[in-house]
């Protein structure tokens, strides 16, 4: 590294390439690590059922409106669950609102 590079770096004119490398690597791995072909419909159904079982312990869900899907945006894949809540199990109707559970691809991986 020349003196000029050092000054540039100290003045923040240019970011060190290791930072760029780290960011690019994290993005590309986030994509690589989710093997979409391994998430079959069967697996997604199973996951959906288990998530609903857990949530149903605490609140009553509108099963007709439930939607669980995988969405990919900006090279990140997310599991998006849309579970409309009818009422809490204490019996009191509080609200009907879309409750979103979002998991990053890291959580999906095994």
């Amino acid at each position: 590294m020349t003196l000029r590079d050092l000054i540039n770096k100290l003045l923040g004119r240019e970011t060190a390439s290791a930072n760029t490398a780290r960011e690019r690597l994290q993005l590309v791995l986030a994509h690589d690590r989710v093997d979409m072909s391994s998430l079959t419909t069967d697996l997604l159904d199973k996951m959906r059922k288990e998530i609903l079982d857990v949530v149903a312990k605490y609140v009553e869900i509108d099963f007709e409106e439930v939607a669980v899907s995988l969405e990919t945006e900006d090279r990140m894949t997310a599991l998006v669950a849309n579970l409309p809540i009818k009422r809490t199990l204490s019996g009191e109707i509080k609200f009907k609102k879309n409750d979103q559970i979002s998991k990053t691809d890291k959580d999906i991986k095994k």
């Binding site: 590294m1 060190a16 390439s17 490398a21 780290r22 590309v28 791995l29 095994k110």
Partner: protein, 234 residues
């Protein structure tokens, strides 16, 4: 001896990161410490372990000949002259690539385990059949990578596959490290690489011109008298 033999896969995904060099030098170092060690070249297509060890002119039989019963295991093993505890076994001839199956590699590894304390398997690059064959022969793995984007990315894929197998432990060696570049933050740091791959770090090997010189001569660094940065690590 068979029970306690350690069969270790040396893999990387990407080619050219130093699998074969590490296998050769680790083999010599282990043999030098008194452990009987076999290095198995599982890279049929492009085998080079013989060259690095300076044994390229002494290969007569391969593991395939042993399995075909064309020869005994002892005949196929190429003993290193300067390091008698070390023996090389080439897996097979490039022309017979399709012949080998994971069960065959497993069988070879079992035969070697009867005679050696350590079996190091130099894995071919890639994640295809050659890798899967080599994988079947081992109980543990060392993943070699460089602090470079493409090498780390490929290592991550290999680790993904290893994680779905019975291989354990899986350890990391970061090779060709340039401390100056890391200090000026122009190279991924050890912490970056280890953090991203999340494997226990077995060791770091510095970039060292002596490695090229020793490869030219067919005398692994660990065999020579002189000291050098890369040698001292191993």
């Amino acid at each position: 001896m068979a029970e306690s033999t350690r069969t270790i896969l040396i893999c990387s995904g990407k080619g050219g990161v130093g699998k074969t060099t590490l296998t050769a030098n680790l083999g010599i170092a282990l043999a030098n410490s008194g452990a009987t060690t076999a290095v198995l070249d599982a890279d049929f297509g492009l085998r080079n372990l013989d060259l690095l060890l300076g044994l390229e002119n002494r290969i007569i039989y391969t593991a395939q000949d042993v399995l075909d019963e064309n020869c005994r295991l002892e005949q196929a093993l190429v003993r290193h002259k300067k390091e008698p505890n070390l023996a090389l076994l080439p897996a097979g001839d490039p022309r017979m690539l399709d012949w080998m199956k994971p069960e065959d590699m497993k069988r070879i590894s079992e035969l070697l385990s009867e005679k050696f304390d350590y079996v190091l398997v130099d894995c071919p690059a890639g994640v295809e059949d050659g890798f899967k064959n080599a994988l079947a022969a081992c109980k543990e793995a060392i993943v070699v990578t460089n602090p470079e984007l493409s090498a780390v990315r490929d290592a991550d894929r290999v680790i993904g596959i290893l994680n779905t197998s019975d291989i354990e432990p899986i350890q990391l060696v970061i090779n060709r490290v340039r401390p100056n570049m890391m200090a000026s933050q122009e190279m991924l740091s050890i912490e970056d690489v280890q953090g991203i791959l999340s494997l226990p770090l077995l060791g770091i090997v510095l970039e060292d011109e002596q490695v090229i010189i020793s490869t030219n001569r067919g005398e692994p660094l660990t065999l020579t008298e002189s000291s050098s940065p890369a040698k001292n690590v191993i």
